[in-house]
C-alpha cells in the first residue's frame, strides 16, 4: 500500500509536450507509472512516447479515465489548469511549479476541497510511491519500497535524505513534497493523517525548515496517543533572522520560527529530531524500531 498514488492510478500530464513534460512522460512510464493521457491546448491528436495527447482535460478524462494529474504549466497558468482538471473529477492534482501566487494556491485548494480532490504543491517535486509509481521529477534511484512515509517541505532535501535511507536499507511507502509555500495544497497535518491511516506505513519522517507552522502541527500529531513514530530534520540553523530563504515561508520572524524552538517542541512531543543530515538516518531507524510490531501488509 501507499498513500494517494498507487501502481494503477491513471495519470495525466498537463503540458506533456514541453521539455519537462516529455522527459517526465518517459521517466514516469519507465518507473512503472500508468500514464494514460496528456493535455495541451492546441495539441489534441498528437502522441508523446505512445501517450495520447488531448486538447483539454475534459477530453482526456472522457477518453482515458484519468485519476490524477501532474500540472506542468507556467505559474501564471496553474490556477485555471488545475481547476479545470478538478472540475472534471480528477481526484489528485500535483503542481510542481514554484512562484505561484498564494492567492491562486488558496483558490485551487478551495476548489479541490469542494470537489473531494487532493491537491499537492505547489513548489514541490511531486509524489512517489516507490516500486509502484511516481508523479514528478524526483530522481528514481534515491528510493526503494518500504514502510516509512516521508513528508518534505523541500524537494532536493528529500532526495538527499531518501537516498541516505535507501542506502541504509530503509525503504519508503510514499514520499510526498508538500512544498515550501505559506498556503499548501496538502499540509503536513493532512499528510500525517493519510500516513496514519495507511497500514503499510510504520513510521513517518518530516523534513522541515525555519518559518511556518508545519512543525508545530507535526509535534501535535506526535503527542497524540496511538500516533505512529515520527522522525524529523529542521534545516536553517545558520539562517539570519528576518531574511526570506528562497521559500516564501522560510523566514525566522519570531522566536517560535527558529529550528531550536521547533526542535524543542518536537522533542517534547516524542519526535526523534535529528541535529543535521548526518544523523537523520539514525533517527529514522530509531523511530521505525519504536513502532509497535511489524506493519500490516
Amino acid at each position: 500500500m501507499s498513500i494517494l498514488l498507487h501502481r494503477h492510478t491513471r495519470v495525466m500530464i498537463q503540458g506533456i509536450t514541453g521539455q519537462m513534460g516529455r522527459f517526465s512522460a518517459r521517466d514516469m512510464q519507465r518507473y512503472g507509472t500508468t500514464v494514460v493521457a496528456g493535455a495541451v491546448p492546441g495539441r489534441g491528436g498528437q502522441e508523446v512516447d505512445g501517450i495520447p495527447v488531448y486538447a483539454t482535460p475534459r477530453e482526456a478524462v472522457e477518453h482515458a479515465k484519468v485519476d490524477a494529474t501532474l500540472v506542468y504549466v507556467q505559474p501564471s497558468g496553474i490556477l485555471h489548469a488545475a481547476i479545470e482538471a478538478i472540475e472534471q473529477g480528477v481526484k489528485l492534482v500535483v503542481a510542481t511549479a514554484d512562484e505561484v501566487p498564494v492567492q491562486d494556491c488558496i483558490e485551487i485548494r478551495a476548489a479541490a476541497k469542494a470537489n473531494g480532490a487532493d491537491f499537492l504543491g505547489p513548489n514541490s517535486p511531486g509524489i512517489i510511491s516507490p516500486g509502484q509509481a511516481k508523479m514528478g521529477f524526483m530522481p528514481s534511484f534515491c528510493y526503494r519500497e518500504g514502510d516509512v512515509g516521508v513528508i518534505s517541505r523541500s524537494g532536493s532535501l528529500s532526495y538527499e535524505v531518501c537516498q541516505r535511507m535507501t542506502r541504509a536499507g530503509i525503504g519508503q511507502s510514499t514520499v510526498i513534497g508538500i512544498g515550501g509555500d505559506p498556503v499548501k495544497g496538502t499540509t503536513a497535518a493532512e499528510a500525517l493523517a493519510l500516513f496514519h491511516a495507511d497500514p503499510a506505513t510504520r513510521a513517518v519522517v518530516f523534513l522541515g525548515e525555519i518559518g511556518g507552522v508545519e512543525e508545530r502541527t507535526v509535534a501535535e500529531y506526535a503527542a497524540r496517543p496511538g500516533a505512529k513514530p515520527v522522525a524529523a530534520l529542521i534545516v536553517g540553523r545558520t539562517a539570519p533572522p528576518g531574511k526570506k530563504m528562497g521559500h516564501a515561508a522560510a523566514l525566522v520572524g519570531s522566536a517560535a520560527d527558529t529550528p531550536e524552538a521547533k526542535g524543542r517542541a518536537m522533542r517534547d512531543a516524542g519526535v526523534f529530531v535529528a541535529s543535521g543530515l548526518g544523523d537523520i538516518v539514525a533517527n529514522v531507524r530509531a523511530a521505525r524500531e519504536h513502532a509497535a510490531g511489524p506493519a500490516a501488509r
Binding site: E99, P101, V102, Q103, K184, V213, K243, A250, G276
Partner: protein, 372 residues
C-alpha cells in the same frame, strides 16, 4: 514590502481614509505648512516609532529640520528612502486591524484589537477570523468575532465595513499582509489609517504591474554583480562566512549551510540557483559575483537535482571553469538526475565530483582554513 506612503496610496485608492500627505527627501522640499504635522521616516524595518523615526513639528522651519533629522537616522542599518509629512490627527482611540495570508486559515485571516498602537504585541492577542478564500468573507461572522472585544457599536460597524474593503483589496491587488496600526478613531468618530504595512506577493508580478516595477527597483539598488544573479532568478542572501555555496533548492541549501557550520566552517551565502536556467548562462553570474567577493575563499557547488539535470550542470561547469581568472578553489558535489554522466564531463577539466556531501563540505572547510 511597500513603504508606508506607497501602502497608503493603495489604501486611498480602495476607499480607505488616510491623512493627506506629502513625500519629500530633503527639508528644503517642504513648501506649504498648515497646523501641526507628523514627519515620518519611510523605512521597511519595524519599530520605527520606538526608535524616534516619527517627529512632530509645529512650524514650517521645524518641519524642514525634522525631515533632515529623520533622513539622517538609520533603522536597523536601513537608511530612509523618504520622509512622509502628514497633518497631525486628533485621536479618540487607537485600534488594530490587519488582513494576512495564513496557512491555518488556508487563505486570509482578519485580526482585530480594540487597543492598537506601538504596544500591540504586549497586549492580549487580537480577535481572529479565519476567512479562507476572500470571497468567503461574511460580515456577520466577522461582527460576531469582534462583538466581545468591541462594545462600541458605531466603531464596530465601521470596522466591519473597513475589514471587507481590506479583504477585497488584498485579493484584488495580491497583498499577503495589510496591517493598519494604529487605525485611529478620530474625534468625530470616523476611522482613519494612520500607518500602513502592506506586503505584496512577489509571485503575482505577471498580473500586477506595480509589483513588477517594485522588484525591478529593488534589483537596481543592488551592486551590478548581484543584479546579474537576480536576472538569472537566483535567490541570494549574503552571510558572514568564507565558504560560498552555489546550490539548488531552498531546503537543501539550508541543510548544506548547517553542515558547513557543523564541520567547523562558516557559510558565506545562501545562493539557490534552481529557479534559473541550469546552463552556462545561468551559473556564470554566480561565479562572477563570488569570485569578486573578497570574503569568499572557497566555492562549493552542491546540487542534488531532480528537474535540474546533472549533465547540464556539469557541462556548464566545464564551460565556466577555464574562463575564470580567480584562483579560488571550487569543490563539486553533484547528484541526482543523470549523475552517471557527471564524472566523464568533469574529467575534461580535471575536476573531481564528490560522492558524498560530507566529503565535499569537509574539503571546502579544510581549503578555507588553509587559505586563511
Amino acid at each position: 514590502m511597500m513603504l508606508e506612503w506607497e501602502g497608503k496610496a493603495l489604501l486611498r485608492h480602495a476607499g480607505v481614509a488616510v491623512p493627506a500627505g506629502q513625500v519629500v527627501r530633503h527639508g528644503s522640499e517642504v513648501a506649504t505648512f498648515e497646523g501641526k504635522v507628523a514627519v515620518k521616516a519611510q523605512v521597511r524595518s519595524g519599530g520605527r516609532g520606538k526608535s524616534g523615526g516619527v517627529l512632530r513639528a509645529d512650524t514650517l522651519d521645524a518641519a524642514r529640520q525634522a525631515v533632515d533629522a529623520v533622513m539622517a537616522m538609520r533603522f536597523v542599518g536601513e537608511a530612509p528612502e523618504a520622509a512622509l509629512i502628514e497633518g497631525w490627527q486628533s485621536i479618540a482611540r487607537e485600534l488594530y486591524l490587519s488582513v494576512v495570508v495564513d496557512s491555518a486559515a488556508a487563505g486570509y485571516a482578519l485580526l482585530y484589537a480594540p487597543q492598537g498602537g506601538v504596544d500591540i504585541e504586549s497586549g492580549p492577542p487580537p480577535a481572529r477570523y479565519d476567512i479562507g478564500p476572500a470571497r468567503n468573507f461574511r460580515a456577520w461572522q466577522f461582527r460576531a468575532t469582534i462583538e466581545a472585544v468591541e462594545t462600541d457599536v458605531a466603531v464596530r460597524e465601521r470596522v466591519v465595513t473597513l475589514a471587507e474593503r481590506l479583504v477585497r483589496l488584498a485579493a484584488g491587488r495580491d497583498c499577503t499582509t495589510i496591517e493598519i496600526n494604529p487605525l485611529a478613531v478620530l474625534e468625530d468618530g470616523a476611522l482613519m489609517a494612520l500607518d500602513a504595512k502592506v506586503v505584496r506577493d512577489d509571485w503575482a508580478h505577471f498580473r500586477q504591474q506595480d509589483i513588477a516595477a517594485m522588484q525591478e527597483a529593488d534589483k537596481l539598488r543592488q551592486p551590478p554583480l548581484v543584479q546579474a544573479c537576480l536576472d538569472m532568478q537566483h535567490m541570494y542572501v549574503p552571510l558572514d562566512g568564507d565558504v560560498a555555496l552555489i546550490s539548488g533548492g531552498a531546503g537543501m541549501t539550508m541543510g548544506v549551510m548547517d553542515m558547513i557550520k557543523d564541520l567547523g566552517g562558516a557559510p558565506a551565502c545562501f545562493l539557490d540557483c534552481s529557479p534559473g536556467p541550469a546552463s552556462t548562462r545561468g551559473y556564470r553570474p554566480a561565479f562572477a559575483m563570488l569570485d569578486a567577493d573578497p570574503r569568499v575563499k572557497v566555492i562549493l557547488v552542491s546540487v542534488f537535482g531532480g528537474g535540474t539535470h546533472m549533465d547540464r550542470v556539469a557541462s556548464a561547469m566545464r564551460d565556466i571553469m577555464p574562463t575564470r581568472t580567480s584562483k579560488k578553489p571550487v569543490v563539486f558535489r553533484l547528484d541526482g538526475t543523470h549523475v552517471d554522466q557527471v564524472d566523464g564531463i568533469l574529467a575534461d577539466i580535471g575536476a573531481r565530483n564528490h560522492a558524498s556531501l560530507e566529503a565535499a563540505v569537509e574539503e571546502s572547510v579544510r581549503l578555507a582554513k588553509e587559505i586563511a
